[in-house]
Amino acid sequence: MKLTGSEILIECLKREGVKHIFGYPGGVVLNIFDMLYEDKDLKLILTRHEQGAVHAADGYARATGKPGVVLVTSGPGATNTVTGIATASMDSVPLVVITGQVPTMLIGNDAFQEADIVGITRPCTKHNYLVKDVKDLAEVIKEAFHIASTGRPGPVLIDLPKDVTVGKTDFIWPEKVGLEGYKPKYEGNKWMINQAAHLIEKARKPVIVAGGGVIISGAYKELKELAEHTQIPVTTTLMGIGCFPETNKLSLGMPGMHGTYYANKAIQESDLLIALGMRFDDRVTSKTDSFAPNASIIHVDIDPTSIRKNVRVDIPIVGDVKRVLTDLNKALKTEIKGQWGAVRKAWLKQIDEWKKERPLTYTKSDTTIKPQYVVEKIYELTKGDAIITTEVGQNQMWAAQFFKYDVPRTFLSSGGLGTMGFGFPAAIGAQLAFPDKLVIDVAGDGSIQMNIQELATAVLNKLPVKVVILNNGFLGMVRQWQELFYGERYSYSHLDIVPDFVKLAESYGAAGLRATKPSEVEDVLKEGLFKIKKTVFMDFKVDWKEKVYPMVPAGAPIDHMLFEEDEAKEEKKKKLKVVK
């Protein structure tokens, strides 16, 4: 039987198990939208901006591990997806983004709403397609889902000219994909894995650095087994948060620029780094020449380009973290009779001392709300049972630092690209995937305004997303840098006008709550998180002077950190000078 391109698209999406599409209509995709009009099995979530659609699909994908699907029109619809696609690309999130395109005969003519989206997104997709013939469509869709979700996942874009959506052909569902140039390597080299086991045996001060790859490959059990069997402490990068329980004794929290002192200290003093599914981002390493100066490095990653890109590696293992760890754990158990507990005693004791010396803290206050306090309270009240998304800036770092994540896929944050405006639509996507879960966007007053229009999407779809705005009146992270490194010259980082978030939420039919004093925080959270069953904005007027600590200044070795205590001392010195 012959089907139109639109029918083929819908049929293929269903066969891929897609239930929800995030999108926005326009001229060249009307045929596809018409197909969705009465479809009961495939629901389109109409966002209020195409960027919101991509972030929502991204949040859906991060929360579930399944590819998120986006459908938008050509030209401005397509270009509006670019930030979302780049965000997903940097964080290895599987997406299939379908953009409409002007009819094939008009391509290249600067036709109305034509944009070369395949050209524009080439560097920020894992792969992309322009479908010129409806006969290729089913195969392209099959390939797109395959590429997006295997190996190192990423976004794949399919550009679909209008005439292809009406053209007819026999529908043949390809059972297999035949991509000669795409064969991700899952199995790690056995000899290398054995070498790794022997390095681990010899190491006295080893540290595991676990990244997003551990979550993607679902290697939590294997990681826990490795860490606990060999008694090696684990630090999880921003993208890896949740892949190893932060309440575990062996957890060091996050490393890097705003990581914990003890994670950074452990890395710098270590004699062996076991890097799993992470890519030595500069926010983790700072200056690479002074990063982990005494350590041998075992690096496991499914993407060969991640290995030896930023740091030297002694044992490179290309493969899926889960399979490699399964083999490694086996090798460690059968080949090595280590007295792990005894061997590790001194190292773990040292780490405990670092933990006591410089824990993650902040100065409590009875008069102004400390943003860290809000995050801490969320953790306390939810007992950690929530999906947290974040915006970008100080809010993101505090959300990473003061909530303890024990479960993978519960911390969704734009790591690689650092996209303000990500958290709220991502929360909408996550909530759609998990209607019964508590989904909370920890937001800044700046970032939330970048996709605030999605309030309509949340309310309309009855998605009870909770938005906690840490309202400091500033682009806080920018202000922090200006305070510390630009002599307190707050050039265009003050927001001057911030909307009344309570009224704004209410005007969309959501609930709005506000806390201005520390004593109100708990009540607002209790009401907003548990009592109110719909979308809520909670506006917390927080101390604008607060900074994210500890902090590694740009270019410094990661154990040369600034701490709040030091700042307090400096302040005292300044005051003493004034008195004199």
């Binding site: 395949v118 050209g119 080439r122 560097p123 894992k126 792969h127 322009l130 010129k132 590429i147 991509l179 000669e180 140039g181 795409y182 993407d303 060969p304 380009t305 030896r308 890109k309």
Partner: protein, 161 residues
């Protein structure tokens, strides 16, 4: 160091811009790039000459391999291989130098493919040294125009990866 990398790619829309985009986006050099269809027109063969230290060359080959349309990447520099480039050069020798130009072309197994009252257009094929030497010899004769194909390379039999 300079490396010659050959690629087998799917002969698909946009594959050249994926590859050139990879080089420009990541700040790698391309000294020359040549493309042509394979025996099976589904595929194309490319030869890229690039420079960089070992780590950069390693990244370049890995990044190329990562492209979905790229089937095979070979850094032929590491193996016994044959490489050739063709140039077409238009020279304007003084009358008394004309026969010398023809002589030199003969020595380099070049062919005169066009001539006019004042110019010879000569085609020369060879490896880099030969091509550079010929260009060097033609310089004093007066080069009016020069086009080059960029290198193509192939592994010697028995050295297949």
């Amino acid at each position: 160091m300079r490396h010659t990398i050959t690629l087998l790619v799917e002969n698909k829309f946009g594959v050249l811009s994926r590859i050139s985009g990879l080089f420009s986006g990541r700040g790698y050099n391309i000294e020359s790039l040549s493309v042509g269809e394979e025996i099976d027109p589904k595929y194309s063969q490319m030869t890229i000459v690039t420079t960089g230290d070992d780590l950069i060359i390693e990244q370049i080959t890995k990044q190329l391999n990562k492209l979905v349309d790229v089937i095979k990447v070979t850094d032929v520099t590491e193996f016994e291989h044959v490489e050739r480039e063709m140039i077409i050069i238009k020279v304007t020798p003084k009358p008394e130098k004309k026969s010398e130009v023809l002589n030199l072309a003969g020595i380099f197994r070049g062919r005169v493919v066009d001539s006019s009252e004042n110019t010879y257009t000569i085609e020369v094929t060879g490896d880099e040294k030969k091509i550079e030497a010929f260009i060097g010899l033609m310089k004093p004769m007066g080069i009016k125009d020069l086009v080059r194909t960029g290198k193509v390379a192939i592994l010697r039999e028995g050295y297949k990866k």
